[in-house]
């Protein structure tokens, strides 16, 4: 985690720490939000596995401790993002994640046709997959919290049976696990993307190749931000 900017970058030209070759991708606040959310999610999933998977449950036991870790990591999962709302960089990126441009549909078409070259998949600061992932997980976490609270406080809403809450919680837990594995696989495939999340900076060449519509957006996004605030 303490490698310097560029030390894991693939090419010699990209390893120069000069700012002219590097582009600011994430602010410190955004990286803290991402890391805190990631650790909480990991804690939540590992404790869930210790409660749910028989071999792990037999190995670990300590059911009350695992329940407590699971409940509190789950309930605090949205906190980093909520605190992140105090950061204007985080709010600006939320707006970017929300809005779908014409080239995002082109990106999705390229995925459907299994075209993998960066030229076939134009993207702004975030590509269409990242946008859909962010929106989906932002909806899935509240559903998990709601059904989880129904199990935690029995009889909170008597018209929803505990069995129903558990069913939705279980099914969605597997969906989240699969989607998160996909999220992490994408990150492991792209060292420069991980570097961006770790140090805040990426190489200009990477940005131009994988997020071709990002660096040029400058004025356009300022306009849209003003329009949003108006």
């Amino acid at each position: 985690m303490r490698s310097t900017a560029g030390s894991t970058a693939p090419t010699g030209t990209a390893t120069r720490p000069e700012h002219d070759g590097r582009v600011r991708r994430f602010s410190t606040a955004e990286r803290i939000v991402h890391r805190a959310t990631g650790y909480l999610m990991l804690l939540c999933l590992v404790s869930a596995a210790c409660l749910y998977l028989a071999p792990l449950a037999q190995l670990v036991g300590r059911r009350h401790l695992m329940v407590t870790v699971h409940e509190w990591s789950g309930i605090s999962l949205p906190l980093p993002s909520l605190l992140g709302l105090f950061s204007s960089a985080f709010r600006a990126d939320l707006r970017r994640l929300n809005r779908f441009a014409v080239y995002d549909r082109q990106w999705l078409r390229a995925v459907r046709r299994r075209r993998t070259s960066p030229e076939a998949r134009p993207a702004g600061k975030f590509n269409a997959g990242q946008k859909l992932y962010a929106g989906w997980i932002a909806g899935a976490v509240p559903v998990m919290m709601f059904t989880g609270l129904l199990m935690w406080f029995m009889g909170l809403l008597p018209f929803i049976s505990r069995t129903s809450a558990i069913f939705v919680h279980d099914v969605l837990a597997w969906a989240i696990t699969i989607v998160l594995l996909g999220h992490m696989r994408r990150a492991f495939e792209d060292p420069e993307a991980r570097l961006g999340m770790r140090t805040g900076y990426v190489s200009r060449s990477w940005a131009q190749r994988h997020h071709s519509r990002w660096l040029g957006e400058g004025h356009a996004s300022d306009v849209s931000e003003k329009a949003d605030q108006a």
Binding site: Y52, L53, A54, A57, Q58, V60, G61, R62, R63, H64, R95, L97, N98, R99, F100, A101, V102, D104, K131, L132, A134, G135, W136, A138, G139, A140, P142, V143, F146, T147, M151, M154, I160, S161, R162, T163, S164, A165, I166, F167, V168, D170, V171, L172, W174, A220, V223, S224, A227, D228
Partner: protein
């Protein structure tokens, strides 16, 4: 809506739609859960018959039991070292070996096992000694009003009122599904309280103590109901 200029500037709010769509799917899932679950259980029941890998056990609401323990590891006990202590407010405190319990009259109770966590195993046969017989053997003193159960995992405990404990569908169970109860299922001896949720059926039973009032058990100190009646259980019947 003032959506038009925004839409031109930033595009359609697909992220928000994905989020709202997922929230809607969650609500629909809750509404449809009872019927979805019936179909799912039917499918799993059929699938687990031909599933040699055991993977169906990982899916939501699989058929069969799940392993719960409140401690890190539980000692194994068998004929050579198992002992059931009966004490408290009784005339004749006593310790039973596994062989002595097996030599007593055995009762068979077939009932659904239902866990508060949503899983259920239908029509599960248990065999063992009626708790009422053990209490009669020991002779409950007039001050006795409840039972406290302790377990050789060193942490778990449970409770019943004396009236509940004397029901004929409450067993000190030795067999489950016509086989001696394995360690994973709480063997060699566990409690089986048929009309209540399964957390009342303490595993690894090692102590029965008559008390003058109900002492809440392990999960009951952590928010569970002291009386764990199943929905629709006949709470006062003695006939099982």
């Amino acid at each position: 809506m003032a959506g038009k200029p925004k839409a031109r500037a930033g595009g359609a709010p697909v992220g928000r739609r994905a989020m709202l769509g997922m929230l809607g799917a969650g609500a629909a899932g809750l509404a449809a859960a009872p019927s979805l679950q019936r179909g799912w259980e039917g499918f799993l029941g059929a699938a687990s018959q031909i599933d040699a890998t055991g993977l169906t056990g990982l899916l939501p609401n699989p058929g069969g039991f799940r392993y719960y323990s409140v401690v890190g590891s539980v000692p194994h006990k068998d004929e050579t070292n198992y002992e059931l202590q009966v004490g408290g407010l009784v005339e004749r405190p006593k310790a039973y070996t596994l062989g002595e319990l097996r030599a007593m009259p055995q009762t068979r109770v077939v009932h659904d096992v239902v866990c508060t966590d949503g899983w259920r195993v239908e029509k599960t046969p248990f065999e063992g000694v009626k708790l009422a017989d053990i209490l009669d053997d020991a002779g409950v003193r007039s001050a006795g009003a409840a039972i406290r159960f302790t377990c050789f995992d060193g942490a778990y405990s449970e409770s019943l009122t004396l009236e509940q404990a004397r029901r004929s569908d409450v067993l000190v169970a030795l067999n489950m599904q016509d086989k001696p109860i394995t360690h994973e299922h709480g063997g060699p001896v566990r409690l089986f309280v048929a009309p209540m949720y399964f957390y009342k059926s303490a595993k690894w039973l090692s102590g029965i103590s008559v008390t003058d009032k109900v002492v809440p058990g392990y999960w009951e100190e952590r928010g569970y109901a002291v009386d764990g009646w199943l929905d629709g259980a006949d709470r006062h019947s003695d006939a099982a």
